[in-house]
Subunit: 219 residues, 2 copies
DNA sequence: AAAAACAAACCAATCGGTCTGTTTTTGCAA
DNA sequence: TTGCAAAAACAGACCGATTGGTTTGTTTTT
């Protein structure tokens, strides 16, 4: 029929060992993130993760020495992906609007929405909170993730910190950024726990309006 | 010697059964909160809780049908205590300052610090985050705690919502309150995870200053 | 004496991790 | 190219430890 391969055995593409490694690690990491989102840190057991990945225990053991290493690898993969996305956001916001084109409020609102969508919604948000809370009481996990967390925060700050400057006697740019991040984080936790959207969009819009009165485009 | 009791057996005060019930529930609930703070939701095993409480498994079973009920009872006790404290804060801030005495910024800063101290520090903060995150993936726990969470938020809002009103075209009082709560929450999570204080006090002060420009004392 | 409060042994289920054995890929010799 | 042994990749049974929960029996209050 449609079997050009000489063997009639179950069709299994021949993959190089390097390809296998990449595939397997990717599948395991994705399953780990899915499991963390679905069941939380305490629900993400090896059994659940391996079932989602369709991977045997032995195969897992071949790639990771412990569950901590798998979770840490998954967290690093997700957070490092976020660092790259933060740079994208900076580029998107910087471009698209000719200098002085749109009023600062619109640019700020767009920036806020972009950050919100990519970092404080969906799986990224859920896993972020699970890991952050788990880090509080798990020193080993915290040691592994602390540098990546810090890197993400710095990248996020770089996305907009140097595109605006405080106006008059407004708080320093760094302080405004932290206020913004904390606010988004608290809002995200509210929505993660309570479920649906609780009018967060309107609130972010108000915050953009307030910010617009406090900053001006950097020269 | 100093044993006025007629029996030479280990001195054990005779307590009424009602007293016993109260004591035992209190001890178990306190131990549960301590365990949640120390080990997180996934580290708060029955074994750890009972060891902290110095209570046998059988005694525990006499009072709670499942671990969920114990955790829920502990959460309710803590959150309901917080609701009462929220009212105290409202009273403290309202009194002490004769009408128009201190400038709005000082009153707001004091309010912010009071709320911060009582709700976003120490065991209360840690347990709050553990439970909130656990609720996301535990429907039974969420069903039990959602009403108490909502009650706390309302009580916290009542503490200051009606003492100020937005100035000019500032956001509605309700929106300013949610912005504030979210900001404090995000800041608290930062400190819970990263450990020490990261300049949060200065940031809260800045926020009070911004708020002062947006609200005025209600008539 | 009855009931409530308490203690501790016990249980099945599940956890992370290891062990042994099989299949697939690879490097090299013929 | 083909043959083939070593190595890597993979599968699943197995293990002790720990989990939440139950059961049986003793002490204290009523």
């Amino acid at each position: 029929m449609d079997s050009p391969a000489p063997t009639a055995k179950p069709v299994r593409a021949r993959r190089s060992q390097e390809q296998r490694r990449r595939d397997m690690r990717h599948v395991l990491i994705e399953a780990t993130l899915d499991s963390l989102q679905a069941g939380g840190y305490h629900g993400a057991s090896l059994g659940d993760i391996l079932a989602r990945a369709g991977v045997s225990r032995g195969a897992w053991a071949h790639y990771f020495d412990s569950k901590l290493e798998l979770v840490a690898a998954a967290a690093e993969a997700m957070l490092q992906g976020s660092v790259a996305q933060a740079a994208d956001i900076a580029a998107d916001i910087g471009a698209g609007v000719p200098d002085g084109g749109a009023p600062a409020e619109e640019r700020l609102a767009a920036l806020l929405e972009a950050v919100w969508r990519r970092f404080y919604q969906g799986r990224h948000r859920d896993v972020l909170f699970e890991l952050a809370v788990a880090c509080r009481t798990d020193a080993a996990l915290r040691a592994r993730l602390a540098p990546v967390f810090a890197e993400l925060l710095a990248a996020l700050g770089g996305a907009w910190g140097h595109r605006f400057r405080p106006r008059g006697d407004a708080p320093a740019m760094d302080e405004l950024m932290r206020l913004t991040v904390y606010m988004l984080r608290g809002m995200a936790m509210q929505e993660a726990v309570s479920g649906g959207d609780g009018g967060g969009a309107a609130l972010r819009r108000q915050w953009a309006r307030l910010l617009a009165g406090l900053v001006e485009p950097a020269p």
